[in-house]
């Protein structure tokens, strides 16, 4: 207790020196007053009494000085005095301090946010036990151009059974929607089909109840499901009795057997329900089990087995399968990558580019702050010299400047930390859904440490340089010069080098941003092939009651379209399977009848559409006819192809009347469809993806239960939703709308990631650009000020204002040109790294490489012209009279 009291007192003496001093004053004053009173009482005059009291006391100031010495902590006091002095000088020049702190904050904040994302996505291991043993298995197919493709179930099962390096192999589907009925209310949920061992391969346990067993990959008695923690709370209020309950999922009664914990997250998926595949054991040997590819496959390596060793064994198994199943596996390769690497995927390049960009920004920020301090050191040359002459210790001067920079970087660091904290949250919140394959982007301890070391380091670097420099100057020289001459060249050359460096870095940053902007501009101008404005997209998935009953499926959709078309304001209603920009397509092999039997095609996108599909989406007809109402079941099977397919397969021949089938080798069961029309290409997968070859079948000739309703209206698109919801409910009370979206939004969303990355880079580049300009301005203003006297003399001797401005401009031009040269050279090498992020723009795009440097040069020259102009306008007499 007493110890704490003492510590508190000591701390107080250190931190609140003023208060302690005031107390001492009061104590001594009190003493003297009592002593004086005593003397007066002894019969002295008040003046004598006071004098005697002072004499007896013996030196008030000495007492105080000794008292301070006893109090101790002198060096801390000095450091605090330095810090206070630093704060005072910073306050005296708020523009500079503000600029420096803002600069640091931006640099540090941006780095913190991006580094947090890099850390969360790239550096942090997957949140599963022994994540290094998890690998992703995919199919590669040179013939079809597949890289890391989804896997056919039969291949998955063979890999699972034959590769000894794998402890376990699990499979899962991409996940889709389903309709559940919760107490009679239909509700759309996200469902993922998984193999029975999915959770055990990941090493995840249920929070309540159980997960699945390996055997449940196959059909069992009652269908079972595991639900997410969130869904458990949302739909069942977290009721423990949920486990064991049976709910209908797409009409099938399904028993809930477990709840996954809230922290369970695989690649940031947002599944509500997991269900075992529940495959029919008879499928195992059927052809489609090897032909249809829809699974993602993860394996857990046995302990001690390296990914390389596992891959070697895996490849021998894959080659054996090529021989055993030539019809399907002849050219089927496979690929094994660490799961983490796979999940990071293409966001890695983007994140690393962003990290590079913010690193450049931080360098610019540091250079800029260094610059500002240099400029100020130059401006304070005389003050420093004066203090040196008056006997200030050099070491103390250096320390003072050092403290000043530390205070500055501490303030900047604190602001940067706040900005980084906010930026990290903003980044996680604003990212296009699913871009970062992690559940959360925390700002963790490592990031914090990185920031602190960054601020300290920058403080040290740009604190020491000007301070050391000013301390070794000979004061008399500086005072004689009157702070005007050309000595002290060294530091100005440093200033120039910093500005040139800033220009170079800013150029690299701006060039990168320029390329991305140009790339995005091109993307936005891509003709999507459809007119997406004013089109509503509504996904509808019929329940199990419609399965194997094409006529009821047809009847449902026909009635739906008819009633929607009758709604006020609707100008068109049609259906396809997957909406344009849906991010995916349904693909298969195909064969053209007139081609040689072994000349088959692969990877054609297929869709099933209603007659008015093309007119609703405004897809142009290029030849032949659209699908009509006459193309119904029983009539000749027809198909409409796109221009890409016509070009690829028929060259200059007329495709109309030719026949096509969707299997590689045609046999008696093959359905031949006659090509009746050719339509324009549609960017089905996304704006950034080239249109695939595609064929559109007539929905009426091959109905499916999962369809997308496309409704066009010249009015307010969203106002249609309640009406459509009502119609669907009336047609089938067990149905919920799967996806309600504006087609325009889907189109935008297909390039949302590019837009997001471009926007970030643009912000960083603009900041870097501005900082570089501030740097140019600061150095040139300082130079102009130094040469004002010279200019005054020149002007007095008859030089033109433009001549003296040229003095400064010439210097600026040299510095900026040097920076641009360095920046261009570096950028030519560096932009190649972002090639994969560019759409239809070369990494050395000539336009960008001309426009951006020119812009930078121009603005830099303006920034240096302003101070030159001001200097040249000062009346010669004024300048000459100074000092």
């Amino acid at each position: 207790m007493a110890l704490i009291r003492r510590l508190v007192k000591r701390l107080r003496a250190l931190l609140w020196r003023g208060a302690v001093e005031r107390e001492l004053d009061e104590e001594l004053r009190f003493h003297l007053e009592l002593e004086t009173t005593k003397n007066v009482e002894a019969g002295m005059s008040p003046a004598d009494a006071r004098r005697k009291a002072l004499v007896d006391f013996g030196g008030i100031e000495q007492t105080k000085e000794v008292h301070r010495d006893v109090r101790g902590g002198r060096w801390i006091e000095e450091a605090l005095a330095d810090a206070r002095y630093a704060l005072r000088t910073l306050r005296r020049n708020p523009a500079l301090a503000g600029a420096a702190i803002l600069t640091l904050a931006l640099g540090i904040g941006a780095n913190t946010a991006i580094f947090s994302a890099v850390n969360a996505v790239i550096l942090r291991p997957l949140p599963f036990p022994h994540p290094e043993r998890l690998v992703m298995l995919s199919e590669d197919n040179a013939e079809k151009g597949w890289v890391r493709n989804v896997v056919a179930p039969a291949n998955y099962l063979d890999w699972k059974e034959r590769v000894k390096s794998f402890a376990e192999v699990a499979a899962y589907t991409g996940g889709g929607g389903a309709t559940i009925s919760n107490q009679g209310v239909p509700q759309r949920v996200r469902v993922r089909g998984v193999s029975g061992n999915y959770f055990s391969v990941l090493g995840a346990q249920a929070e309540a109840g159980r997960t699945f067993e390996d055997g449940e990959t196959w059909q069992t008695g009652t269908p079972v499901a595991v639900i997410s923690h969130r869904f458990w709370l949302d739909a069942f209020g977290g009721d423990p009795a949920t486990i064991g309950r049976t709910i209908p999922i797409d009409g099938r009664p399904t028993q809930i057997v477990g709840v996954m914990p809230a922290r369970f997250s695989f690649a940031a998926d947002t599944m509500d329900i997991w269900q075992p595949m529940g495959w029919d054991p008879q499928s195992r040997t059927q052809d489609f089990f090897r032909r249809a590819h829809w699974l993602r496959v993860i394996a857990r390596l046995k302990p001690g087995v390296t990914p390389e060793a596992a891959d070697a064994e895996f490849q021998t198994v894959v080659r054996r399968l090529q021989v055993e199943f030539p019809a399907t596996n002849r050219v089927m390769g496979a690929d094994l990558v660490p799961l983490h690497e796979f999940l990071i995927g293409d966001v890695r390049t983007a994140l690393l580019m962003l990290q590079g960009a913010v690193a450049l920004l931080l360098l610019i920020a540091c250079a800029n702050v260094g610059n500002l301090l240099l400029v100020r050191a130059l401006g304070r040359e005389r003050e420093v010299s004066l203090r040196l002459t008056l006997g200030a210790g050099r070491a103390r001067l250096v320390r003072q400047a050092f403290t000043e920079s530390l205070v500055l970087s501490a303030l900047g660091g604190a602001a940067g930390f706040a900005l980084g904290w906010w930026g990290t949250r903003a980044l996680a919140a604003l990212q296009p859904a699913g871009m970062l394959p992690v559940a959360d982007v925390p700002m963790d301890v490592r990031v914090l440490a990185a920031i602190l070391s960054l601020t300290t380091l920058t403080g040290l670097i740009f604190g020491i340089a000007p301070a050391l420099w000013s301390a070794h100057r000979v004061p008399a020289e500086v005072l004689k010069e009157g702070g005007r001459s050309e000595t002290g060249h060294g530091i100005r050359r440093w200033g120039d080098a910093l500005v040139a460096g800033e220009i170079a870095l800013a150029l690299m940053l701006t060039l990168g941003a320029g390329l991305l902007v140009r790339s995005f501009w091109r993307l936005q101008r891509v003709d999507p092939g459809v007119d997406s404005r004013g089109v509503l997209v509504v996904g509808i998935r019929l329940g199990s009651g419609y399965q194997g009953n094409p006529s009821s499926t047809l009847a449902f959709f026909d009635a739906l379209r008819e009633r929607v078309r009758a709604m006020p304001g609707v100008s068109g209603a049609s259906q396809g399977m997957i909406p344009p920009f849906g991010g995916t397509a349904f693909t298969s092999d195909f064969r053209i009848e007139s081609h040689a039997p072994d000349d088959f095609g692969v990877e054609i996108a297929r869709d099933r559409v209603t007659p008015d599909y093309f007119s609703t989406l405004r897809v142009p007809l290029k030849a032949g006819r659209f699908i009509t109402e006459a193309d119904r079941m029983g009539a000749t099977p027809v198909v409409v192809i796109n221009e890409a397919l016509a070009r690829q397969q028929f060259k200059d021949r007329d495709p109309i009347g030719q026949r096509i089938t969707f299997s590689r080798v045609a046999d008696s069961t093959s359905v031949w469809r006659t090509i009746v029309g050719v339509v324009g290409d549609v960017h089905q997968t996304g704006l950034a993806v080239q249109p695939q070859i595609a064929a559109y079948e007539a929905f009426a000739q091959s109905p499916t239960s999962y369809m997308t309703l496309l409704v066009r209206t010249p009015g307010d698109v969203e106002s249609l939703v309640p009406g459509i919801r009502r119609i669907v409910g009336e047609l089938d009370p067990n149905l919920a709308l799967a996806q309600v979206q504006l087609l325009e939004r889907l189109q935008e969303r297909s390039i949302a990631r590019q837009r997001f990355i471009m926007s970030l880079i643009l912000v960083f580049a603009a900041t870097g650009f501005l900082l570089a300009l501030v740097g140019v301005y600061g150095v040139m203003a300082q130079m102009a000020r130094r040469r004002t006297r010279e200019m005054g003399i020149r002007l007095a001797l008859g030089a033109q204002a433009s001549d003296v401005q040229w003095l400064v401009m010439r210097h600026a031009l040299a510095v900026v040109a040097a920076g641009l040269g360095i920046g261009l050279t570096a950028a030519l090498g560096a932009t190649r790294g972002i090639q994969t992020l560019l759409y239809d723009v070369a990494p050395t795009d000539p336009a960008t490489f001309v426009v951006v440097p020119a812009l930078l040069l121009l603005t830099a020259l303006v920034a240096s012209w302003l101070p030159a102009l001001r200097a040249s306008r000062t009346a010669p007499a004024t300048t000459l009279r100074e000092d």
Partner: protein, 110 residues
Amino acid sequence: MTATPSDVLRGTLDLLILKTLTLEAMHGWGISQRMQQFSRGVLDVNQGSLYPALQRLEQKGWVDSDWRVTEHNRRARYYHLTAAGRRALGAETESWRKYVSAVELILKTT
């Protein structure tokens, strides 16, 4: 008694302060008066040196201080002995006595 007041020996000031504070908490001026009074004016404490000494004792943890109101309604800093101070006083008194008797011994024999 008109003897010239002599300076307090270096190092004994602390001892005297501690001894003075055994009776009650006092402010600086009070301590100086009490010391003068006790020594019957022989020891003239340099009043100015009292305050750094008090500060030193406080840092050692032998005395503690707080601000109180005097009987004349003035704010003053009062010092009082801590438990550690009381123990220190015992030890210091002991060593002082040894010192004095040693000096006495030397003075007697020569």
